[in-house]
Symmetry: C2
Subunit: 326 residues, 2 copies
């Protein structure tokens, strides 16, 4: 049928009926599957650790979400505790082939299970892909050593002084330079900045021959998979602050320090122990099991379990506007 996006008029017919089929395209699902093991955030990868698992668009399921869940659980035997749609990518030439592919990406939280050795899938720490994102021991040295000089060169390379200033400012804000605070949620912005500055191997593909140009440490992935992973990390780092999803990554029972280490692993930065406990307990997110963990290396810690009831008891709040409660 005729599509109308060339029509310059805007009359009755100009908006096609929502029932009309406009373009047949190809679609698939891409999953960012996250677990936290031994205090490290990890993602499931395939293809020699260079790709995120992607799968068919299943037609049988009630919803995309349930389709994704069933597919992952069948393929990996990892039950998914939490699933959330991330973003739909359909940029031109994503695949580099001229082929238009729509990829609907999802974030899934799980607990790492042993993978059969013949399987191609591997769990890998996500800081392998984003070494500049782990600030648990302070800002990684590679930021000052490798990123800053190249970002400065990139900024200086702009002809227009306004652009130069804007690039410098963007780098300073996203990477927390010049005494600015580090904002762990800007994962995607940082990746995109490095991409624009052509410091990411993925950005050089097609243009320069592989191997040319200075690139920055951090494992590359195929196509735009690293961007999708960055999107997932950013979403998760934001989410843990107002929704109790961390517990989907924890074992059934855990100590408060384990919980804290898990949050820190995801956020890539440390939190104040006493305040963390105060916050968790004030919200009544957990309850004691009555047991203690003896292998802490110090005073035994009480074991806790997530109070699943809170998911029903509460709705997510979080208000920044001066809203009257009257």
């Amino acid at each position: 049928m005729a599509t109308l996006h060339d029509t310059e008029t805007f009359e009755g017919e100009s908006f096609p009926s929502p029932l009309a089929i406009n373009h047949a395209i190809a679609a698939d699902l891409i999953a960012v599957l996250v677990a936290v093991t031994a205090g490290e955030p990890r993602v499931l990868t395939i293809q020699d650790r260079r790709a995120l698992p992607s799968g068919p668009f299943e037609l049988e399921h009630r919803s995309l979400q349930s389709g994704l869940r069933a597919w992952v659980e069948r393929q990996t035997k990892h039950p998914l505790g939490y699933v959330e749609q991330l973003y739909t990518f359909a940029d031109k030439d994503r695949a580099g082939t001229g082929q238009r592919v729509v990829s609907i990406s999802y974030l899934g939280l799980t607990r790492e299970q042993p993978l059969a050795p013949e399987q191609e899938a591997r769990w890998l720490g996500w800081y392998t892909f984003f070494p500049w994102e782990d600030h648990r021991d302070g800002p990684p040295a590679m930021i000052e050593a490798a990123l800053v000089p190249r970002l400065e060169a990139w900024a200086a390379g702009a002809l227009d002084p306004g652009v130069r200033q804007a690039r410098t400012q963007r780098a300073a804000i996203t990477f927390g330079l010049d005494g600015r605070p580090w904002n762990e949620e800007l994962v995607l912005q940082r990746y995109e900045l490095l991409y624009e500055a052509r410091l990411i191997p993925e950005a050089l593909r097609g243009a320069a021959p592989e191997g040319e140009g200075f690139t920055v440490p951090g494992r590359a992935m195929i196509l735009d998979h690293r961007r999708i992973l960055a999107t997932g990390i950013a979403r998760l780092r934001a989410k843990i602050k107002y929704h109790p999803v961390v517990f989907e990554l924890m074992p059934e029972t855990f100590t408060l320090l384990q919980l804290q280490r898990c949050v820190e692993a995801l956020a890539g930065r440390l939190v104040h122990k006493q305040n963390f406990r105060r916050l968790i307990e004030a919200q009544e997110l957990v309850e004691e099991t009555g047991e203690t963990a003896q292998d802490t290396g110090g005073r035994p810690a009480k074991l806790f379990r997530f109070r699943r009831e809170v998911l029903a008891e509460r709705a997510i709040v979080g208000t920044k506007l001066p809203i009257s409660r009257a």
Copy 2:
């Protein structure tokens, strides 16, 4: 080509290559276009106010986002100040035809412009579709009068006492019953609750013949467009709290009260005037133009303009975890 989602094994080949085309499906874009006119939040509709504008999946553009922007601006002559992807819907039988359609929905902010009279598109206040969402004059009477009794009946209709209790609790939380606070962000949850309770005409289609069953006030839309609209409203209500997008809905210059009325219109609730001003000025989001508006009916108000620089100066923050700044 063969899809692998029936395979129960998980070996090398089980994850198809991301380049593989798994299913050819139909895709379109759906836009929630919002403006605030005369203190009322409005959305652009077509098809006798029963549908959101939807359009073709454009292949020429660099990205989905730019494709949507170009399409809307060409069709409606409304420049879009802000565009954000909402959600991708592909649930089975969304269209009711068995046809699988993927709809990528977007939220766009603009300023209402006159529409040519022959155009099918119409701006309509969004509370026409969600009369229970406007709490600017206190909770609408229709909640107590029309919603609560039917939700109670629905809850009581469950055989299992646990389900009864859960339904009652959900209704109480989402609608702020039993002295609970009203949370304006739960737009989608409220709509889905009413949908599940079969109080929404859209939920009765196909099952019961049209006209049967008690439904609740509020204009219906085709397919799942009202759900998409609810998603957009919810997203916008959340967004205005931590990102300065309201200004995309305002004229070039405005008084602080106009700005406040705009926020209140979107949030569906009132804010404390003095605190609102304090917040806006503390964040240095606006600057005085030097002029005053005389037609306020009282003391003339200073006119302000949005300081666009803040978009570059700042990154969005907002932290709820006890994160150390050291």
